[in-house]
Amino acid sequence: MTASSATTPPGPDSPEPAPPPAPRSTSREVARALVSHKLAVFGLVVLGLLVVAAVLGRTAAPYDPNAVDVLGRLQPPSLEHPFGTDDLGRDVLSRVLVAARLSLVVGAIAVGIALTVGVTLGLVAGYYGRWVDDVIMRVMDVLFAFPAILLAIAILAVLGPGVTNAMIAIGIVYTPIFARVTRASVLSVREEVYVRAARSLGVGDLRLLRLHILPNVMAPIIVQTSLSLAFAILSEAALSFLGLGIQPPDPSWGRMLFEGRGFVQQAWWMGVFPGVAIFVTVLSFNVIGDALRDALDPRQRSAIEARGASR
């Protein structure tokens, strides 16, 4: 009689089986997480101001951004011209404000193009796999292999300079990132039991992708959108700096930076203020992106969930 083996040694209870998947963040929870993130609040405030400037456009600007005043050229910042005037006597503050609209619109549309095309390609590549995946992702790899700005310049060389073409070029440049991010998430989500369960009900591919897979891969895509907006605005500034994006006389931060380049010694304000505008905008999109990543990451959230919602 082996008495020793009869009883199992008393030990701690076996840990709970696998915890249920963390409940998805509701939009309210994400909003709360964003507000509790100090840097994100800064980003949201800056972004809010930018959006207000973009919406108001010329009505917010104290002067006509294109009004030339030869007598008042290269004036340092003063109460009359808080950001000074440029080499043609145009008010720098007005130009920076009006340029906000173009920069945001170009950034948003460019990222919109990249988002739509990239997410669609990523969904298809990840879901169907095999040769479809290979073809799509190798093309994306080729695009990815070029430095972003060089690729944009090359595309603009083919399409010709201009705002619309700049948006298309930037859109193409950022497509592979979205395709990759989406595909990576689809690869894991498509193996989920609920996807198989939906398939066992005879749900079609299109509906499966749209209703079951897309909502479950949104979190990384949202984060990527915010980060890409920052880079798209930076790319637009770079292209405009090179004269390939927004065309004069329309104001643009990149173009203003270019124009101020020749006057760094005499009129630092011509370059510094549009430069600060680019910097602050890109920074705010980046911190919002980071905060969103924190808010949407289920692994970091599970600890919070365990405390709050155990129903």
């Binding site: 998947p21 209703l211 479950n216």
Partner: protein, 335 residues
Amino acid sequence: MTAPSAASATAPSSSAPVLSVRDLRVSFSSRRGRAPVVTGVDLDVHAGETLAIVGESGSGKSVSMLAVLGLLPSHAVVEGSVEVDGEQVLGAGPERMRALRGREVGMVFQDPMTSLNPVLTIGRQVTEGLEERLGLSRRAARDRAAELLALVGIRDPQARLDNYPHQFSGGMRQRVMIAIGLSLDPAVLIADEPTTALDVTTQAQILDLVQDLQDRLGTAVVWVSHDLGVVAGIADRVVVMYSGEIVEQAPVDALYATPQHPYTRGLLGALPVLGERRAELATIAGLPPDPVARPSGCWFAPRCPIRAQACVTAHPPLREVGPGHLARTLCEVAP
């Protein structure tokens, strides 16, 4: 490969089976060569009956069922015949398979925690098949969904439709999964270990629920399980699978009264008996064979307590040992 003759594996029943599987073979290519995980399975499911498929992990029971619905990954090689209502569906196009799923053969999966999409409301998921497959309007689908939830015993179904899966307990989620599985009124419902992830009281409730629904709706149920104890209470016939093949098939009473295959007897011996004190639960020593390299004789021989010389050399065929009772064994077992 010696496949048992098709005729011998059919159950004694006059009606034509709703689901008829013949010589089903599934193999996956692995790094070490082709791995046949299902090696010639014959099954018949008749209207209104409960067929239980029992076996340990890796015996091929779930894979066989996924093959019936065409839900295996594309690198799986599936051969044989699957007939639903007399129509050959194995190898039919993706549109035919899509039409089959849910409508003719429904399925309920093992883990209720992961079988529901976390970002969609219960209502969206129950109405999905009703809208997409039956073409019901949103309004009508919602009403039907509430009926289905009431049918599976969820209180206040109308309000519950707007809840998300994380607001449901495991047992309730499994009820929802059953409601979804039944939503298109399939002739056969495949339940792939639907109670494994649940505690025993919830398990008992789900078992009662399925039996009750079966009585009311006349749905045939294929109950996949590794638990002979669960199966005893609900099955009409039991199929025992081992290493990708059927080793014994019998009406439920005959299987428990006179198990023929040593593996079946091992499984029955491993069940704990209430009120009986034992130092250790009986186990079957060893592991099932590697599907890439199975022994030449009986596949259970290396683990068999009553192995004879003949068992090592010849792979035994499935032979009839009683009325409707088939066993893949060479040994004569005294009851």
